[in-house]
């Protein structure tokens, strides 16, 4: 078994905004090349955690990314309905050096002329793939995906996670993703971080099948101290 190789170390992370505690004393690691699922009810602080990891929010505690880590981010919501921006134009925003066809092939968007379509006319699944493609344009070694199947019909959800798994293996990328889907956690992720402002569970993703663990996630919080040292 490979020794732990953390690309991210989070220690005692607390985020407070306007006297409200949004995240309380989170401590966890993410190993290189693994997928961490972040689970929790609405308002649990999942997106806040991502924003803190991207250094977009003031926080206490430490967030240590491995040196030279490049992060690709896919937000849950984007405002594109009213914008006449094409797939090509979007993918070249901020980075004009990469090959658009290759980037689109990576996310399996191979329909002819798709790069000239407006983002607003794409299906939910196509749009999410374009957003993933955008996040990949700078060759990141970590992807942060905030509910990557938002706006996607149920049949198209699984192919997106299969695609992410494929990208992770081929490009040796570490993935952190926010999801509500327990099936996805079991099938496509390695570790699970359940939060509700504090950590309610942190361990192997396969544990989600255990009813006691599910009770732990949805019921009383566990002692954070006892979770330290886990992968």
């Amino acid at each position: 078994m490979n020794p732990p190789n953390p690309i991210l170390k989070v220690t005692n992370l607390t985020v407070k905004l306007q006297n409200q505690t949004l995240l309380n004393n989170l401590t966890f690691n993410v190993n290189k090349g693994t997928t961490l699922a972040i689970l929790g009810p609405n308002g649990a602080g999942k997106t806040v955690l991502f924003r803190a990891l991207l250094n977009l929010l003031p926080h206490t505690g430490t967030i240590e990314w491995l040196e030279k880590t490049k992060i690709g981010y896919v937000p849950q919501y984007v405002t594109i309905a009213d914008t006449p921006i094409t797939v090509y134009e979007f993918l070249t925003l901020g980075n004009k050096t990469h090959n658009i066809k290759d980037t689109l092939n990576t996310v399996k968007l191979t329909q002819p002329d798709i790069e000239n379509k407006r983002l607003g006319v794409l299906s939910g699944g196509q749009l999410r793939r374009v957003l993933i493609a955008w996040a990949l344009t700078n060759n990141p070694n970590v992807l942060l995906l905030d509910e990557p199947t938002t706006g996607v019909d149920m049949d198209s959800e699984e192919p997106i996670y299969m695609l992410l798994n494929d990208i992770k293996k081929k490009q040796k990328i570490t993935i952190l993703l926010i999801t509500h889907n327990i099936h996805i956690v079991q099938e496509y992720t390695d570790y699970l971080l359940a939060i509700n402002k504090h950590i309610t569970y942190y361990g192997p993703a396969t544990d989600i099948a255990n009813p006691l663990i599910q009770q732990q996630i949805h019921g009383e919080p566990v002692c954070v101290e006892s979770l330290r040292g886990k992968p």
Binding site: L56, Y73, T83, P84, I85, T86, L93, G94, N116, W134
Partner: protein, 266 residues
């Protein structure tokens, strides 16, 4: 016979139309169309100060516009009050201040509200063209960043874009162009040049590149054709603003019809 004032006015209209159309394309996408309109009225007290203290009133207009924009930007960053609400409050305050400052100078107030191209000279048309050109170039440099901010602020920040500074530069450039545009259409109508060319262009655009270009072209057509029509029709009006608005609305109506036809045929 060559009419220098008309030539200068057309030159000014061309510069302002292109810059307002181009910058306006972003304002409309940012859902700030009404902000652009209201912001333009903030120039009124600045114009009054210029007239009262005998300095270029358009410098006063720009100073008021930009200072107001900074105040709004700063309040909005530190409170949860919406941008639109702040602009609304500042706009009415500025309008009230402006009317108080003009006092009985009704003719000057009318010029400020509706524009006055009889005062346009070759020098100030030239300066306006250079300033508008610089505003267009600077906006082009930050255009991609502003589009990314509009799509997702988090996405933009994660790419290392300083959202606050980029927005501030954009507000500065809008203030400059609006201050120059006041000469042609006045504070009451200058918002039109920022909004209508852009919404007409949006009806016909299939990409951002076409959209920004069309918006600038429509701005030029509305401003130049408006001034020309005003001149040739010999209307008993001292300002061309209403004709500029009329041409712009015709362009917008045509864009709606073309958009409707295209949708029927696809």
């Amino acid at each position: 016979m060559f009419d220098l004032t008309l030539f200068c006015s057309l030159f000014l209209a061309l510069s302002v139309g292109a810059a307002a159309g181009y910058l306006g394309s972003l304002m409309v996408l940012e859902k700030m169309a009404l902000v652009g309109d209201a912001l333009s009225h903030v120039a009124l007290p600045g114009l009054a100060l210029g007239i009262t203290f005998h300095f270029n009133p358009y410098l006063g207009a720009f100073a008021f516009l930009f200072i107001t924009a900074i105040i709004i930007w700063q309040i909005q960053r530190t409170t949860k009050i919406s941008f639109e609400a702040l602009v609304g409050a500042m706009f009415t305050l500025a309008l009230a201040l402006g009317i108080l400052m003009y006092g009985n100078e009704l003719e000057a107030l009318e010029e400020a509200l509706f524009g006055d191209i009889s005062q346009v000279t070759l020098v100030n048309a030239g300066i306006a063209a250079i300033v508008c050109g610089i505003a267009i170039v600077l906006t082009k440099i930050i255009y991609d960043k502003l589009v990314l901010v509009m799509i997702s602020e988090d996405l933009a920040v994660s790419k290392g874009i300083n959202v606050a500074k980029t927005n501030l530069l954009y507000l500065f450039l809008v203030s400059v162009v609006v201050a120059i545009g006041i000469q042609i259409v006045g504070t009451l109508l200058v918002g039109f040049l920022v909004i209508v060319p852009a919404i007409a262009a949006k009806n016909l655009s299939t990409s951002m590149k076409h959209y920004a270009l069309l918006s600038a072209i429509f701005g030029v057509i509305a401003a130049v054709l408006g001034v020309l029509l005003w001149n040739f029709m010999g209307l008993n009006l001292p300002f061309p603003g209403p004709m500029v608005v009329f041409v712009g609305i015709v362009i917008f109506a045509l864009s709606l019809i073309i958009n409707w036809r295209l949708k029927l045929t696809t």
